[in-house]
């Protein structure tokens, strides 16, 4: 009998839809049907049970081909790479659960690695802005229940977060928003007339790269000061019109995306958006939220903050302490500066998503990919270690774009023998300890280690 599993979380985007219904075959090996998911989410579940999944680690041979090896061999290889490197980089975690991230942090600390996640090339700018200016935000249910004005700025949920608008922002009827879309004003600010802009009440076409100037104009008119006739390609009249709507909202949310984080000024575009949100709270209630990309890309920021105090770009090479300064300890900068000498690509695809120049630099050193799937990174690695797909084969906690933890379920069994990220990292940690003991390698904090007696775990 096929089995119907309800309330399944979707391992695609930061919307973290948790209302999927997945029907799986009797033997728990195949997905037969996925209900409620968007086209992309649907594809993830279908792909999990497709042919061609690999179930053993693969090691690059001198002739350039891959050879299957055992998990024990792969763990040993990975551990030795970490020990040997003066400064290994462990990057990714776009599709890992929090348990896996916690285990990876333990490995990074032990190995004196730099630990970084996809935010480094995505919403890292948001972190920089939050460091400087805070983050007046809310959970998505607040937006659904209260918001009468929604701004999408430099974000395009119609493409990147397909169910965002229907679940939380534009369309749903909430407690104080019983009229749904009819009761809301939607403002889209973007240089492109996107599919999201098509559903907007007001579309503001900002000149690419001049968002900061436009925010500055909004803030200036909100404070009652005058501005030039045109700013960032937008006419003064439209700026005044939108500013009035923002001030008169009962509750508003600004959802912003890569349009701010990836263009000139990066963090400052977000920084001034936060300043504007703060200003608007002198008039009414406004909140702001980063449209985080992957379903659990908020996760590493959360987990590593409680572990090290930093959300990303965490240099643990000193082992006693961590240090963070994007621009220096961020993956692409480390790559371009040749500042790391081993690369772990975990649950992401740096091969496809880093600028190719950065890939070339990293490729000078050992490159290990930990990912369920074949991807660009796996195809240029020295070692590819497959793991179970989180949210499909591996359960666990993930953090939604609003940092709300969602408990994900398992719907399929992983291919025979394939382990989770968490187990893999625990085994690498264990193996590093063993090798260090065998070879008498002393830690930076070796003196201190001598004072540790019995550790009783949970």
């Amino acid at each position: 009998m096929p089995k119907k599993i309800e309330n399944v979380g979707c391992p695609y985007c930061g919307v973290c839809c948790d209302d999927l219904v997945v029907t799986v075959s009797d033997d728990g090996r195949k997905v037969l049907e996925v209900e409620n998911a968007c086209a992309i989410g649907n594809e993830i579940f279908q792909h999990a049970s497709s042919e061609g999944r690999i179930s053993l680690p693969r090691l690059r041979q001198p002739d350039g081909t891959y050879k299957d090896i055992s998990y024990d061999e792969a763990v040993d290889y990975a551990a030795r790479v970490l020990i040997k490197a003066k400064k290994p980089l462990i990057f990714g975690f776009g599709s890992t659960n929090c348990e896996g991230m916690a285990a990876a942090a333990k490995v990074a600390e032990k190995a004196g690695a730099v630990l970084d996640n996809c935010a480094s090339i995505c919403h890292g700018s948001s972190f920089l802005a939050i460091f400087d200016n805070g983050y007046p935000s809310c959970t998505l249910g607040e937006t659904k229940n209260r918001a009468d004005v929604i701004v999408y700025w430099g974000s395009n949920p119609a493409h990147a977060h397909p169910r965002h608008m229907s679940r939380y922002s534009i369309f749903p009827r909430g407690f104080f928003t019983g009229k749904g879309h009819k009761g809301r004003k939607i403002i889209v600010i973007d240089p492109r007339y996107t599919d999201t802009a098509r559903v907007a009440d007001i579309y503001v076409q900002v000149k690419q790269g001049q968002d900061y100037d436009l925010f500055n104009a909004f803030r200036t008119v909100i404070r009652g000061e005058d501005i030039p006739d045109e700013v960032a390609g937008v006419k003064k009249e439209q700026i005044l019109q939108v500013a009035e709507i923002l001030k008169k909202a009962r509750f508003g949310t600004i959802f912003y995306g890569m349009g701010l984080c990836h263009s000139d000024g990066r963090n400052h575009n977000v920084d001034i958006a936060i300043s504007m949100t703060r200003d608007l709270n002198d008039f009414t209630k406004w909140t702001i939220m980063a449209m985080r990309g992957h379903y659990n890309i908020a996760g590493p920021g959360v987990v590593w903050a409680w572990t090290t105090g930093y959300p990303y770009c965490i240099d643990m090479s000193k082992k006693d302490r961590a240090y963070m300064n994007p621009g220096e300890t961020s993956s692409v900068d480390l790559a371009m500066r040749d500042e790391v000498d081993a690369f772990f690509n975990v649950g992401t695809d740096a091969g496809a998503h880093f600028p190719i120049e950065a890939v070339k630099h990293l490729k000078k050193h050992p490159w290990i990919t930990i990912d369920p799937n074949i991807c660009m990174a796996s195809e240029i690695s020295d070692l590819h270690i497959p793991v179970g797909i989180v949210g499909v084969e591996v359960p666990g906690i993930v953090y939604r774009m609003d940092n709300v933890p969602i408990q994900y379920r398992q719907v399929l069994n992983p291919p025979d023998g394939v382990i989770s990220d968490e187990e893999l990292f625990e085994r690498i940690h264990q193996r590093i300890s063993e090798i260090e003991a065998e070879e008498g390698i002393t830690q930076t904090s070796a003196a201190a280690a001598g004072t540790q007696t019995s550790f009783v775990g949970e």
Binding site: D132, D213, A217, R219, H268, I272, S275, S317, N325, G327
Partner: protein
Amino acid sequence: MKTVTLTLNKQPELYLECNDITPDAFAGKTPAEIAAIEIWEGKQKIPLGDFFTVEGSAGATPAETKIVVAGDCTRVKRIGQQMTDGEIVIESDVDMYIGGWMKGGTIHVKGNADSFCGIGMEGGELIIDGDAGHHVGAAPRGEWRGMKGGVIRIGGNVGNDTATFINGGTIVIGGDADIHISTHGEGGTVIVKGNAKGRVGGQMVKGEIYVFGTIENPLPGFKKIETVERDVEGVQAQFDHFIGDLGERHPKSKGQPVYAHLYVKA
């Protein structure tokens, strides 16, 4: 004043972190003791003497100690970090954080410096003959108490984020500046002899900026109020005087709002 000369005699595979190359750390030490000071390459701690030859001798106090660093230091970070007194001369290009958090003394880089030089500076003088990277004299991440004092002079161009959260002190840029100058500033002075690209004084509460060249994209939050005659860095000239950032909060002093001032050569 006594001089210690360090010569980098081999290149690291990665980068060297040398926050103890300061008169403070060297003062009162023999060359052998200086050679034993620990520096870092990645997770490895190495004696300074493994990479540098140490000649000459240090003074008894930081004030009496001058350090000359020779050899190609493109891959050496953090020289002069938190130094309080004395002098450092770097003969070549140098990597990040030069003069970071420095409180006194002088550093002279004869080549270019990478990003974060003079970050969190409190006092002293940092001179870079060539270009500097991003975040010159800026605050470290999350810190709202930025540059408090001292002088930074850059001969060439700088990247973005000069003087973010500046509270005091002076930065003089000989060439052009990329976007973001004195963002969130609450004091201090930045002088750009060349052109500024844009976002000059955004979110700025108070402080001063002078631009001798042009601003490619001026912010709408700055309003011209007058044209004034000023003597800046020995140059007497007419400047258009703007106040701003009108989008930002402005405290009152004796009943009058306090603004940041931007002067652009007329």
